[in-house]
Symmetry: C2
Subunit: 198 residues, 2 copies
Amino acid sequence: MMPSRLEELISALRCLPGVGPKSAQRMAYHLLQRDRAGAVILAHALESATANIRHCSKCNNFSEEEVCSLCLSPKRDSSLLCVVEMPADLLMMEQAQCYRGLYFVLMGRLSPLDGIGAKELHLERLLRRVLEHPCEVILATNFTVEGDATAHYLATLLQSQQVKVSRIARGLPMGGELEQVDSGTLAQAVLERREVSA
Amino acid sequence: MMPSRLEELISALRCLPGVGPKSAQRMAYHLLQRDRAGAVILAHALESATANIRHCSKCNNFSEEEVCSLCLSPKRDSSLLCVVEMPADLLMMEQAQCYRGLYFVLMGRLSPLDGIGAKELHLERLLRRVLEHPCEVILATNFTVEGDATAHYLATLLQSQQVKVSRIARGLPMGGELEQVDSGTLAQAVLERREVSA
């Protein structure tokens, strides 16, 4: 009833995260019915990306070269190393234009239930790098339960090696109103209050 | 900051229905990070499907041949033609094992706001086929506003050519309880009541 190549396409689409059998079928129909050109472009993009994109040997971010352009840039301050979870977080940091140091991208967060431990995050590579080139490590993992746990684990690991470690501040966002912020954030903002210089 | 091939992959993934910039990024990261084998299989499935799958010249369903195996089967009753919206609907009909006739797959439904009219649904092909091989047409489009409108349009078109047209019944589902069914369905079930044979 269904051509075998269509069945294969539907089954292959399920490798995408969050795509179940119904969505995969809808996607396959859409591509074959209304966007065959898009499907061909997607096929080429998948092949080109899988064949050419690897991880930068220094910062672990996605890169087409052995060492990515950011790590090679002489304009970056090598005395600072910012640890983020994902490449998207690195992009946000760069867009904020608040940081001129280097990065280490974990490509995830500690999540024992999903089988993601210290080994999967290449923490031994991070540790080796920090010991070879001493620097201040700024932990910029997310303020979620898993992101916090990852930061805590990293802080313990690095401080045991006498590395200076800091964590980006938690507090009210720009334009934030006390009335609308959640109590956890407010409590943390009070706890981490800073003296006002005269 | 982001390799160009990664940007291209994220942009190409947006040809999938329901995939916005954030999901496309998540999908690209997932494939490169955790499932490169799946990405390669998907690339091949996309290429193979777009190159080999076309529409059956008789029933308009997806097919790898000029005429699909269902249309060629001598076991099917050619005096019945069931019109469905999508290939998935045809599969449901086949699974119900209640029908041994042939099909015509609209690959959509009338939806003027989305620019889908009689021409996009190849209704002239359906009409030609019915006039060449007279048969009873069973309308099995969905009982949605657009599916009903499509059925109404088709019924008017076909009856003007003296074709016998029927619509699958609306009523309470198997195991349905009056207390739980919506009033529209109940009203229709009363309206379409059938005499009980003694």
